[in-house]
């Protein structure tokens, strides 16, 4: 397998790193491994050594390219402005852009909501029939390597999932203040119907008319596996779907989706017939916390007792620079005691499906996060990204910590429900 040559831009991006080492202070993976090449500087040095200077066989790049969290912690503080995640994504593309898995996963499975739904139903069937435990006990699961170890992290599939059921929740709002398209994302649609319901309730309460188009996967996972071209075709599909809608905004409570959807403009910037449409799609895109604090939260919350802390998803705090809105939401809920944790914006190690391929590293990064959570003494850790929430929940489970991981939307929904209960 020959390695595709670097473009001029790519080699320039690599040379931009002046190896000052400031990233060592921020990289979560470097912090837990203490091995130089796991830092941004180290990964770039190795990519450079392999692709520019011919000092390393490019096959050796597999780990350095794939076990980066792409959390962007290094990017924010890089004086030279090195976009490490971009470098990593393009290196991944060169590695496995056209692999069979990618073709199956991103061009078939994620490209069709119904296909995906069928797949999750199979997973649920496996749970119900006990097939999953059979697979675990017979060691079959181990055959798939790290992903096997991570099996415990794959959530149970709840009943009541599916896009159709979410669409059915849309109510008619008289004299709506806003009209939005709800981008459910694969998670809420298939694994967390309760969150989708909460989203609908909250939006309705804010007098927002909601449409639920049949969007396909946002595409964020594809570049993570080196398949940027699939991400582009998913993007084009979603842009087409949104094109005919008369809406003020597209919203989603999923930080990963919102961050990637906001990047459509950049993703398709080089395609003349799409660039403009993509940019206007991205302009419409709002993370749900951003949207709600932007329009102003309606009153009428009841008290939710307890001490909470907040974990910043990388896709929210760095990719979208959204730090304050979730905190304002928490602050507006009566009864809560909020304690800021140390390193609240450090990655939890979930990083999409990172943990499936890099289980041990993911767990080490998580351990640091769980220590920080434990220090606050909070009973609930709130976040804004499904991957983070699943990761934090499994962290709590494994450590038997009395901490619940909750999405910010679920928390807000509870506050409103509490008021109703009190009525």
């Amino acid at each position: 397998m020959a390695f595709p040559a670097l473009t001029k831009e790519e080699s320039r991006a690599l040379q931009r790193c002046n190896q000052c080492g400031f990233c060592l202070a921020h990289c979560p993976v470097y912090k837990v491994t203490g091995v130089e090449w796991t830092s941004a500087r180290g990964r770039i040095a190795l990519i450079r050594a392999a692709l520019l200077d011919d000092k390393l066989d490019f096959k050796e790049l597999s780990d350095p390219v794939f076990n980066c969290l792409t959390c962007n912690a290094c990017v924010d503080d890089c004086p030279a402005g090195v976009q490490t995640s971009d470098i990593i994504f393009s290196a991944r593309e060169k590695f496995s852009g056209d692999s069979l898995t990618n073709r199956l996963l991103f061009r078939k499975l994620l490209a069709s909501p119904s296909f995906l739904h069928k797949a999750t139903r199979l997973l649920r069937l496996a749970d119900i029939t006990g097939l999953r435990s059979v697979a675990r006990e017979t060691g079959l699961i181990k055959l798939i390597g790290d992903a096997g170890k991570a099996e415990a992290m794959v959530p149970r599939v709840p009943p009541g999932a599916g896009l159709d059921r979410i669409i059915a929740l849309a109510e008619k709002i008289d004299n709506p203040e806003y009209r939005v398209a709800y981008f459910t994302g694969c998670y809420a649609a298939n694994l967390a119907p309760q969150e989708a319901a909460a989203t609908m309730r909250i939006l309705h309460r804010h007098r927002v008319d909601v449409v639920v188009p049949e969007f396909v996967c946002c595409g964020i996972a594809a570049p993570a596996y080196g398949d940027i071209s699939s991400a582009r075709s998913l993007a084009r599909r979603n842009i087409e779907i949104a094109a005919g809608l008369d809406i003020d905004a597209i919203v989603t409570p999923c930080a990963s989706c919102s961050s990637f959807l906001k990047g459509y403009g950049k993703l398709l910037a080089d395609e003349p017939e799409w660039a403009e449409k993509a940019a206007s799609f991205s302009d419409k895109m709002k993370d749900l916390t951003e949207f709600l604090t932007g329009i102003g939260l309606v009153t009428g919350m009841g008290a939710v007792e307890g001490r909470v802390t907040y974990h910043d998803p990388c896709h929210l705090v760095r990719y979208q620079k959204i730090k304050q809105p979730p905190r304002s939401i928490i602050a507006s809920i009566p009864g809560l005691e909020f304690i800021e944790m140390e390193e609240s914006d450090m990655c939890c190690g979930a990083a999409g499906t990172y943990g499936l391929k890099n289980y041990d590293l993911s767990m080490k990064v998580l351990a640091r996060k769980m220590d920080n959570i434990a220090q606050t003494g909070a009973g609930v850790v709130v976040s804004g990204c499904p991957a983070c929430i699943m990761q934090l929940a499994s962290g709590a489970r494994m450590r038997k910590m009395p901490v619940r991981a909750l999405s910010i939307i679920d928390l807000l929904d509870r506050a409103y429900q509490a008021a109703e209960g009190a009525d």
Partner: protein, 915 residues
């Protein structure tokens, strides 16, 4: 062999702490200079013992070893150019102890600089050196490079803040340099190791000096249309006696680069900006800020901006700290230069840099620690253009030559590493390089530690030691030819007054020049005659006894001021100059040299440096090692070397100067010294307080030490000392009463604040008498105090002067213990102490049979307090007694060192350590 090596190394550190796949190795083959090499192994030692065992193995197998921290160096210091082992210390990152009461932090070398700061800040303390890479770089690396940073203008560089360290020598031997107390007997290997770029040894545990955080600070940005105006502003601020925490200068191109990366609000169209931070007591800070803005205005400042909030301050600093990286945005590859010049030459240097940039058609962005004259021109070039690469290199060379021509150095703080090796030859004479090589040889005879760094590989032709031609082979005749017949006296009447340790010298030579000192020493080598350097003779009755004394080499005729640079605040002086004579001349320029020693009226600068003498002001200003920037030294072989220079910062080559300070003339004769000067303060007050006992006085000094106050001196005296002092300013004391003398100087507001707060503390602790002095009365008081040592030694020839060095919080305990020991032996003891430095002096006069019991008791007591006690001055019969002197912890290394440097044992034989 390689297989056995893997096995051996794995056996030491464990398989999880060794890397040897090509991929892993590549990532340890660079630092921030972008040079890529590949080591054979990367090891992560877990302990001093691991490192010692690795070094033993490496030594046996002759494998090169490179110690490495975070690899953020910018001179190539950790690039493994010879392959071998990279000893990665970043995982040895435990903070072992934070002891604010004693102003100490004990850490492993892998602790990141900022992590220590973060741990200290909640305790109200800081560790001053703050290199721009502080969030990633390790403290071990800081020591290797003698790191500086913006704050070092006010506080001084790393060498000032390292008290002690555990070191693994290249052969695996584990030694302790320095200690937890300030004054440790023996050569200052600690000073030599700091900035040695890992070629001499590996520091594995560090005892650092920490200081209280300042109470308040202000950050300002001054924008100038003209670089000269910015430069003049810096000079004016310094000569006004204002000592900002930082004074950073950036030129137009640098501001532009910074604005591309951090939106810090720097103007991109100004010729230069100054980032000024003042810090200290809140009192007077406003006026200081006002004074600075007045100076800025006088120098045509275009705009003066004050950071109003912490966020505004942080963003201004973020711009500065990210300056290097920002340049990478414009142009990823660049060469960092790190020259330093006398600080009043900075603008001249920057203009020359501009001219060079035009000559070679390359872009240069400049950032400078202006207060220290340390400039960092960043030369930008296109890596793919060979022509530009060449130009960039030439540009850098010329910049360094420019710094040298202006009396500067090739490296202010980044180190020589690989980058500036070629420039070493241009900066240093062959003799200097040869001396450095012999130091390296002593430490690393097998030549395995960080090879190819700092010292140019190929030794140049070593200067031939030529003995002056003389008609006769008669030694005295030869000496006469060297110094001139009139300067050599062999007359018994004269030589008898130069008797030392009971030895009668053959002759006394008065050398008027460094060359003649060199000639005498060469002659001494030829005839194997012991040479005894002599200044004012005030400390010849101190320390271990000489084993021979043939010729007294008297330097008192070498007493000229060679270069008084009032703009740079330095003086180069011949070392035969009497301290108080120098001070008188400096006072005429409203300057002073803050080394006020007990014998200042008779002792020479050379003698004070050689014996590392100090006075009460050391609490604020430090000791000789912090105040001497450069020197001229005649080595025991007669070579003339010139360590250091007249720049505030200098890390070019080994810091040899430190070795001569406190070496008692056994390693070389200091003939000239460049001293740091300070403007006379605006205000000064001395507070005299009487407390009912030591405990209450110590409570006061303890509170001051843990506060934002910074007096110049805090001196404690018992009743005997007070009565000996015979000062009209002091009351006489009853029983266990003590006097605490506190000296305070600075701005009027600072002095007022000190007085107010100290008065409150004193009253809370039962002060029974309090008086303040200023002007001549204060001077007289301190002169009397300094003379205390002299009064005692002159008055009682059988007297004994012992000096104890302790953790500072134990000063009072030792003070009290000395009194109790005196009572126990029914003798009289004059006791005085530097409370801020943990130094307690005891003057006792005891009958013969008691002397050794007293000495032993003092030693035991000091040891019990984790300190040590040594005899300084004593009658010959005491000093001659075997076992009476402390044996330095580095005894063996000292002996090897002395033997290598002075193989014929010519200079002050046996004066240090008995060899």
């Amino acid at each position: 062999m390689a297989k056995n090596l893997v096995k051996g190394l794995t056996g030491i550190v464990g398989s999880e702490n060794i890397l040897y796949s090509r991929r892993d190795l590549l990532a340890y083959g660079y630092d921030a200079t972008q040079r890529q090499e590949v080591p054979q192994f990367v090891l992560f030692p877990r302990s001093t013992d691991d490192i010692s065992r690795v070094m033993k193995l490496a030594c046996r197998e002759k494998v090169p070893v490179v110690p490495r921290g975070a690899g953020t160096g910018i001179s190539g210091g950790t690039v493994p150019v010879k392959g071998g082992i990279v000893l990665e210390l970043s995982r040895m990152n435990r903070i072992i102890a934070l002891d604010t009461a004693n102003h100490r932090a004990v850490v492993e070398p892998g602790v990141v600089n900022l992590d220590l700061q973060d741990a200290l800040a909640p305790l109200g303390f800081m560790y001053p050196p703050d290199p721009a890479s502080q969030k990633s770089c390790t403290l071990g690396g800081n020591i290797g490079e003698n790191a500086g940073g913006p704050l070092c203008f006010r506080y001084g560089v790393t060498s000032k803040y390292v008290c002690g360290m555990q070191v693994v020598l290249p052969d695996g031997e584990v030694v302790e340099f320095g200690g937890n107390v300030e004054d440790v007997p023996g050569y200052d290997f600690r000073g030599l190791l700091i900035g040695s770029e890992g070629i001499l040894g590996i520091a594995t545990r560090l005892v650092l000096h920490i200081v209280p955080l300042p109470e308040a600070s202000r950050t300002m940005l001054a924008v100038f249309d003209n670089l000269e105006d910015a430069g003049q502003t810096v000079s004016d601020i310094i000569s006004a006696g204002i000592v900002p925490a930082a004074l950073e200068l950036m030129d137009r191109r640098m501001c532009w680069a910074i604005e591309q990366s951090v939106n810090a609000g720097y103007p991109t169209d100004a010729d230069g900006v100054l980032l000024i931070e003042i810090a200290g007591l809140a009192d007077g800070l406003d006026r200081q800020a006002g004074d600075i803005s007045e100076i800025c205005r006088r120098n045509n400042v275009r705009e003066l901006r004050s950071a109003e909030t912490k966020a505004e301050c942080d963003i201004l600093w973020k711009g500065r700290k990210g300056a290097f990286g920002s340049v990478a945005r414009i142009c990823p590859p660049y060469l960092v230069n790190d020259g330093a010049v006398p600080r009043n030459m900075l603008v001249q240097a920057l203009r020359k840099v501009q001219a060079i940039s035009e000559k070679y058609h390359v872009q240069i962005a400049n950032v400078a620690h202006a207060g220290d004259g340390n400039l960092h021109p960043l030369v930008l070039y296109d890596r793919d253009n060979p022509q530009e690469c060449m130009s960039a290199r030439k540009t850098s060379e010329e910049i360094l030559d420019t710094c040298l021509a202006l009396g500067g150095t090739i490296s202010g703080e980044h180190g020589v590493g690989l980058e500036k090796m070629a420039a070493m030859v241009r900066m240093f004479a062959l003799a200097d390089l040869a001396f450095m090589r012999s130091v390296k040889q002593v430490f690393d005879p097998k030549n395995i530690l960080n090879l190819g760094k700092l010292l140019p590989d190929e030794p140049g032709p070593v200067a031939q030691h030529t003995v002056p031609k003389t008609a006769s082979q008669d030694f005295h005749h030869m000496l006469g030819e060297i110094v001139g017949a009139g300067n050599l006296i062999a007359d018994d009447d004269v030589t008898s007054s130069y008797q030392v340790d009971g030895l009668m010298p053959e002759a006394v030579g008065f050398a008027p020049t460094t060359e003649q000192v060199s000639g005498i020493i060469r002659a001494g080598n030829l005839y194997r005659k012991a040479i005894i350097p002599w200044g004012g003779g005030s400390k010849q009755e101190s320390g271990p006894c000489l084993s021979a004394a043939n010729i007294v080499l008297c330097l008192k005729n070498m007493n000229r001021i060679i270069d008084l640079d009032t703009g740079n605040l330095t003086v180069r002086v011949e070392t035969g100059k009497i301290n108080s004579d120098l001070q008188r001349e400096l006072a005429g320029h409203k300057l002073f040299f803050p080394l006020e020693t007990p014998f200042a009226e008779t002792s020479t600068i050379g003698g004070e440096l050689a014996t590392n003498e100090s006075g009460p002001g050391r609490f604020k200003y430090g000791t000789a090692r912090d105040l001497v920037l450069g020197m001229t030294v005649v080595t025991p072989s007669g070579d003339i070397i010139r360590p250091g220079g007249k720049t505030m910062k200098n890390v070019a080559g080994l810091d040899l100067g430190k070795m001569f300070i406190g070496s008692w003339g056994t390693l070389g004769v200091i003939t000239e010294a460049v001293l740091r000067l300070f403007p006379l303060p605006e205000a000064r007050r001395s507070i005299c307080m009487v407390f009912p006992d030591v405990e209450r006085a110590s409570a006061v000094t303890g509170r001051i030490l843990n506060s934002v106050l910074l007096p110049t001196a805090m001196e404690l005296m018992n009743g005997v000392a007070v009565s000996r002092m015979e000062s009209s300013s002091l009351p006489s004391l009853k029983e266990v009463e003590v006097v605490l003398l506190v000296d305070v100087e600075g701005s009027i507001e600072e002095v007022e604040r000190h007085l107010k707060q100290i008065t409150v503390l004193a009253e809370e602790n039962g002060v029974s008498f309090m008086n303040t002095f200023d002007g001549e009365k204060a001077n007289a008081l301190w002169n009397d105090y300094r003379r205390l040592h002299r009064v005692f030694l002159n008055g009682i020839p059988a007297g004994l002067k012992c000096k104890a060095s302790l953790p500072i919080s134990k000063t009072g305990d030792m003070f009290k213990a000395v009194g109790e020991i005196a009572d126990k032996h029914k003798i009289e003891a004059s006791i005085n102490a530097h409370c801020g430095n943990g130094t307690v002096y005891a003057f006792v006069s005891a009958e013969k049979e008691k002397v050794f019991n007293v000495i032993d008791d003092l030693k035991q007591e000091a040891a019990g307090l984790k300190g040590l006690s040594a005899i300084e001055a004593a009658p010959l019969w005491v000093r001659k007694t075997p076992g009476v002197h402390l044996i330095p912890a580095t005894h063996e290394l000292m002996k090897r060192f002395k033997q290598a440097i002075d193989p014929n044992n010519i200079l002050n034989p046996s004066k240090v350590g008995g060899y």
